[in-house]
């Protein structure tokens, strides 16, 4: 602890720092003075959008060493003017929470447990199964002989936090594969 000198008397400190109400610099501890917002450490900040509801609040995402360290409201947004609700304010945990599963898991038929799995292998298996299901349930015509040109063996149900570009590729790929059963939270 630093040596106490008379100059550090609160009243002198208050006079010296012209802190007339005694609620500012005069009463700031050394610890407080050393405390800086964690955003100061960020090496990048990008403008983003909250991933929860459809208000579309602006977010600023602060990152350091390729890790998100902080997310706060974007004051530039004419929609949200810097505000976030509890969900938007908690979204840093969406990135960093310990409950997140970041590796591929596979559950074999009848198995009681997951197993860790290689992503590339999983993707190949999914592609094989897609092609097989597509063939198995292919329909050239409906019962009246009208062409339908489709498969009923594969379906998809998406949430509503999938980017427009992503939805576009999903719809494009499924349609070209003849899969019509594509759905979204938008109908739920």
């Amino acid at each position: 602890m630093a040596r106490i000198t008379p100059l550090e008397w609160p009243v002198l400190r208050q006079l010296r720092s012209r802190d007339s109400t005694g609620r500012g610099a005069a009463v700031t501890s050394r610890k407080t003075r050393r405390t800086a917002p964690r955003t100061d450490d960020a090496d990048t900040v990008v403008q983003s959008i909250c991933p929860y509801c459809a208000v579309g609040c602006g977010q600023k995402v602060f990152a350091k060493d390729d890790r998100v360290i902080h997310i706060e409201g974007d004051p530039d947004s004419p929609i949200s003017r810097g505000r976030l609700c509890p969900k938007g304010a908690a979204s840093e945990q969406l990135v960093n929470s310990s409950g997140r599963q970041t590796t591929v898991l596979y559950r074999a038929p009848r198995s009681h447990d997951w197993e860790e799995f290689d992503r590339d292998r999983a993707l190949d298996m999914i592609a094989d199964r897609f092609v097989e299901a597509r063939r198995r349930h292919w329909e050239d015509e409906d019962e009246h002989g009208n062409p339908v040109n489709r498969t009923m063996g594969v379906a998809s149900l998406g949430g509503a936090t999938i980017d427009n570009e992503e939805n576009y590729l999903i719809k494009k790929l499924f349609s070209a594969a003849g899969a019509v059963q594509i759905e979204n939270q938008a109908r739920i």
């Binding site: 929860y52 509801c53 459809a54 998100v68 004051p75 530039d76 947004s77 004419p78 929609i79 509890p86 969406l94 990135v95 929470s97 409950g99 997140r100 599963q101 591929v104 898991l105 596979y106 009848r110 009681h112 799995f117 999983a122 993707l123 999914i126 592609a127 199964r129 299901a133 349930h137 409906d142 009246h144 009208n146 040109n149 009923m152 594969v154 149900l157 998406g158 949430g159 509503a160 936090t161 999938i162 427009n164 992503e166 939805n167 576009y168 590729l169 719809k171 790929l173 349609s175 070209a176 594969a177 003849g178 019509v180 059963q181 594509i182 759905e183 979204n184 938008a186 109908r187 739920i188």
Partner: protein
Amino acid sequence: MAECHPVGFQWVTEAQQRGARVIHIDPRFTRTSAVADKHVALRAGSDIVLLGALINYVLSNDLHFDEYVRHYTNAATIVSEDYQDTEDLNGLFSGYDPQKGTYDATSWSYASRGDEEKVEEPGTEPESDVAEPDEYGAGGPSLRHADVERDDSLQDPRSVFQLLKRHYRRYTPEMVEETCGISAEDFHHLAESITKNSGRERTTAFCYAVGWTQHAQGAQFIRTAAVLQLLLGNMGRPGGGIVALRGHATIQGSTDIPTLFNLLPGYLPMPEAGQHDSLEDFTGAIGSKLQKGFWANADAYTVSLLKAWFGDAAHAGNDYAFEYLPRLTGAHGTYQTVERMLRDELDGYFLVGQNPAVGSANGKMQRMGMSHLKWLVVRDFSLIESATWWKDGPEIESGELRTEDIDTEVFFMPAANHTEKAGSFTQTQRLVQWRHQAVTPPDDAQSELEFFHELGRRIRARVADSSDPRDRPLLDLTWDYPTDEHGEPDPESVLREINGYYVDGPDAGTPLSAFTQMRADGSTAGGCWIYTGIFADGVNQAARRRPGHEQDETAAEWAWAWPANRRILYNRASADPEGRPWSERKKHIWWDQENGRWTGRDVPDFPETLAPGTKSHPDAGGPDALAGDDPFIMQADGKGWLFAPNGLVDGPMPTHYEPPESPISNPLYAQQSNPARITLPRSDNLLAPSAAQHGSEVYPHVFTTYRLTEHHTAGGMSRFLPYLSELQPEMFCEVSPEFAELVGIENYGWATIISPRSAIEARVLVTDRVRALTAGGRRIHQVGLPYHWGTGTDAVVEGDAANDLLGITLDPNVQIQGSKAAQCDVIPGRRPRGQALLDLVENYRKRAGITVDTGNQKLTAPYPEPQTTTSEED
């Protein structure tokens, strides 16, 4: 809104501070009610009675905005002589087929001026088909022509105006009191508030969220508000409109660029087998070349889409590869897909950030359905319940499923979140906002863009040598997006394709700047016509971030709104027929006589140089046929539809029916429930008997489901986060003190809620915010259930799922399930476990005498044979 769209609500608060009156109409008292000027509680599912009574109030007191209604709506249009109203037919409209349980909408059409105009135009469909909503895009089916018969005095009994009056004449304040449980005093407060606050100087807005869509006739709820808003002149004007508060970050985008079975991008329909065999059939059914407005150019939008998808393989010689598109045969929605799973007709299922085990109605059907799959791919951030039902779902506990018997292979593929990828979200006001990437995804996590791009590459590789014509569309697909060093495709390259570009000529490759540049001759490509302009000048307009405080309140340089960066749709209606603002206060768009163009505070949603006084040319079609006072440029006649001659499958005017499970008999008609609703009569989807039927007393109470500020949908993005879990840790039921006493439950204690589908337990929250209502002559108790919890072992907090209680009955227009009004019983204590739980549910069903037919009879009133019309023989 304060509860579920909290930051959006700051604008309501601000309006309130400037003198706006905020009235909250909801069965539930929420954070919105707490700060509203008035909360009006209504019985869940009775909305059309209330809104219909407001329409009646406006019409019988001559409070409509006369000039607006005459010029901008179809009030003066004459409807076919064959049309008969619910007032004539015991609660049904003409055209009902009791066998099929569907309507033929022919008799609802506009009267024709003369028989010679009944001649079929090439490419247009006969209008006599049974209406099938999945066949149409957002514009509904085409009108054959825009040359309609009118009575500008609005006195003709067959004019829309008079039909509307007659249809709603029995929707009175007394009926509201009797049916909705709203006092006459509250009704008058509401009616006076909205009518006094509408007109030249003032506008009223209606805001709704999914509370309106999740009903067996949700589309009609919203239509009723639209009719009212048109009568009051509140559409297309600042501070007016119907503000759909959609639930999720880009649920609007998921509809615009749809991952939906019945739509192609930009609200073009998916083609239907037998109806749309050629490109000409298809585009003609979307918009006749003779009708007014921009749907008449559906061929340009469709051909541009096909060019974007299939490149050089789409050319004039093969109808631009139109035959590559798969065809629908009726509805293939998410609930029909679950039925297919249960019949072992579906092998593989992708869940992409979606948790149907918790978030879809009739959770048991969802989970049982998944147990019939060969394989399941779950892409999410955490091990949501839809990924783990095979080891810790409710059916494992009850013994209905055994892990060692389940053959389903499950792949969990971790997803990148919103900070780990760049891309665009479309928020609830059609504003497309670009997100920049902050960091790279950890470990195996990847974006949907990368996953589906890669999956597409691998699928294409597997059929690369195929000569089977079935594989042609996959092989001809344009799929060469540039990728970065991690394999992530460049999202801007996808956005460019969505925007569209010139295919050949001097500008080949240049982005289009407006959808009006799209052509049907293959010279343009574009993945979603309504998004054209988002990459105008080669600039990502959605990434524009000029700070709000540097702009006026339209903030036109923050991101980009479809279409064409317009912030208020149909804004031509913000000016009077002569093109002058209705008032200085409500100025938005006006006609600039000097320069001969529309101008103002927004991008005009109207042909820019079409002068106000222009008359419609009788032989023209499409945008050229629009008159200077046709603000509704996507409607086939340019007018706002008070009466919908087509496009809706359950009636041209909204009509009150009781929910499929209801505590009271329909006080307005002998027909109890929506006669065109879609039922799923199955032993795993049983319904409770409604009022006056034997057994209805077994499930005497109404329950409704809802959201909380601190959670999100089925909890996949909230119950796995410690902060949010701590804020709302436990599933509860919200009940009134009167009800708690009636059934013997206590605050913080446990209650078991039983429906014909299942029984769940919840903590009890006794609060004055819930009040019992008197409707249908009886005391009605409503139980509120948030639907965010589910049972599993990976989330921070778990609990029983409200969706397990819900049955599936769908709105016939949009195939959305009713989730907001159903019947239950409530008993004290926790629910039994294992077989005892199944026994409890079964005992209730037996006591109520439920069979698969209960609640599924569509027609409950004798349907008088509609008078046979002679017009066809004439």
